[in-house]
Amino acid sequence: MAEALLSVDKLTMRFGGLLAVNAVSFDVRAGDITALIGPNGAGKTTVFNCITGFYKPTGGRIIMRQPEGGELELAGMPGFLINQRAKVARTFQNIRLFAGMTVLENLMVAQHNTVMPNVARGLMAVFGLGNFRQLEEAAIEKARHWLDRVGLTERADEPAGSLPYGAQRRLEIARAMCTDPRILCLDEPAAGLNPRESDELSALLMSIRDDGCAVLLIEHDMGVVMRISDHVIVLDHGVELADGTPTEIKANKHVIAAYLGEEDPEDIVEIVA
């Protein structure tokens, strides 16, 4: 079994009186596609937002293992550092592209930290100093690479806002990948996609995984989840219901009960049998 890249340890998130996430623990392993599933309101996006630094968890730890050894505590780290230092990238449920900028520009913004490591370098570049030119060209190359991977090369100079929905989703993934992440977190990437687009998405995610980037996704499309995930975690009402391979999850009666809304899991066994 591969080593855990990211360990979520008793993560808790409380919003005033509402306990959205209750002591959830799971591992994301390198070289895996991990899926976080559960009925609506289960707390999946909340967990995501904690991992990616948009919420500060009320309790628990999120530990990211570094390649050189050592650990980073993600809980409470500012969002931008989680991407910059811990190399965790994400996409959003409601696509957040830079609509007024072109497809290429979106990908270039993602490589901001590579091309402009600090403000001083950035200002020096105004006067033509520094190796800005080489860095920018390398960035364009990487952008081109990802444009090819997601099939958007033809549309590189179009404003991102004018792209059709499926293309926008792919662009968001390409943009996240341009930050060279070690974990790619996707919030409902298959939402609104037709079957052909879902297949393309599945192929893309699997190739990303094969290249060495772990994938963590929230998804409602069970077809996609079962097809590509190596590891599935089920949440319901902020609590972890199950954790295992897709086959194990499919047979888990608590999971089925949660989705079908049955009170007593024994009734489900009757129905399913």
Binding site: F15, T45, N49, F54, F92, Q93, N94
Partner: protein, 317 residues
């Protein structure tokens, strides 16, 4: 305003503080009335109505016109004159409020945040200069209509006074705010306003006339501002076309301090600003009293970005 004619440093310190408290609360009420207009409009359409302070100024001028006119017509019974003036000023100011919204903001609604802001600034400049051109650039003074008051208590020769004018301001403000709270919580208009605040599209889909609701929000805000104008005129006895800017910025500060979108916040913010101003003028320096109020605003926003009573806007990620 007769309460500040005493030497601030000869009297007893408790008495002095109490006087500042009274003055501050009175001033705060006026700011509060104006602040309510700002916070209502911001709550419902998310824009800063820059011209609101100038509607307050117009209200003050309208009051002046009415009182002068009534005086010329021979109606000198003060309560009647004030009542008629209040109706006149609030009514005409309501027209102003509605028209301003209709002309300068409604066409820009839902577009682009900065355009209504510039439009509002333009409207503010236009109103100020309109008043200057129409009514003249000089200060206009009104003799004291509600004189006198009574001593509260005395300490070491410093007399703490509560003037009738201050009582009138308090009573009128409390009554109006009470009426307004009833309106917002118990009537269908109030419900419509609150619905619009939450989700405008949904509200219109439910059959509520959103344009009318927003228009009425402006109307009510303008009317309240006009009453504040009348009270200001009576309290200070002197107005000019520029009072809108200063009072407007401070009242907006009050609204933000209390938490924009929160009605009790606007009132509390108004009182806070009034008290800060009074105490700073009384104890530190009069010149820097505006700076004191603004500094408090900045400090509060740094540590409590949504104001004292504001809702924390949790943006959906």
């Amino acid at each position: 305003m007769f309460v500040t004619t005493q030497n601030p440093h000869t009297g007893g310190s408790l008495a002095y503080a109490l006087q500042q408290l009274i003055n501050g609360i009175t001033l705060g009420m006026i700011y509060g009335l104006i602040a309510v207009g700002y916070t209502m409009v911001y709550g419902i359409i998310g824009m800063i109505n820059f011209a609101h302070g100038d509607v307050f100024m117009i209200g003050a001028f309208l009051s002046l016109i009415a009182l002068t006119g009534l005086g010329m017509l021979g109606i000198t019974y003060v309560p009647l004159a004030l009542f008629l003036t209040l109706l006149f000023a609030a009514g005409i100011a309501a027209l102003y409020g509605w028209t301003i919204e209709r002309i300068a903001y409604r066409p820009l609604r839902g577009s682009f945040r900065l355009a209504p802001l510039i439009s509002a600034i333009g409207m503010s400049i236009a109103l100020q200069n309109f008043a200057q051109v129409a009514q003249g650039a000089r200060d206009k003074n009104l003799p004291e209509l509600i004189p006198g008051g009574f001593k509260i208590f005395e300490e070491n020769g410093f007399v703490v006074q509560l003037s009738w004018m201050q009582i009138v301001i308090t009573v009128v403000t409390v009554a109006l705010l009470g009426l307004f709270t009833w309106l917002v919580t118990k009537t269908s208009l109030g419900r419509a306003m609150r619905a619009c605040e939450q989700d405008m599209k949904m509200t219109s889909l439910l059959g509520i006339d959103v344009n009318r609701t927003i228009g009425l929000t402006f109307v009510i805000g303008a009317a309240l501002a006009a009453v504040a104008g009348l009270l200001f005129l009576l309290y200070y006895g002197s107005i000019n076309f520029y009072i809108g800017f200063n009072a407007g910025v401070k009242a907006f500060t009050a609204a933000v301090l209390g938490g924009v979108g929160s009605l009790p916040g606007a009132v509390i913010g108004g009182l806070a600003i009034g008290l800060i101003e009074a105490f700073w003028s009384g104890y530190a320096s009069v010149e820097y009293k505006d700076v004191a109020a603004f500094s408090v605003l900045i400090v509060v926003l740094i540590f409590m970005p949504t104001g004292l009573l504001g809702r924390a806007d949790v943006e959906k990620v």
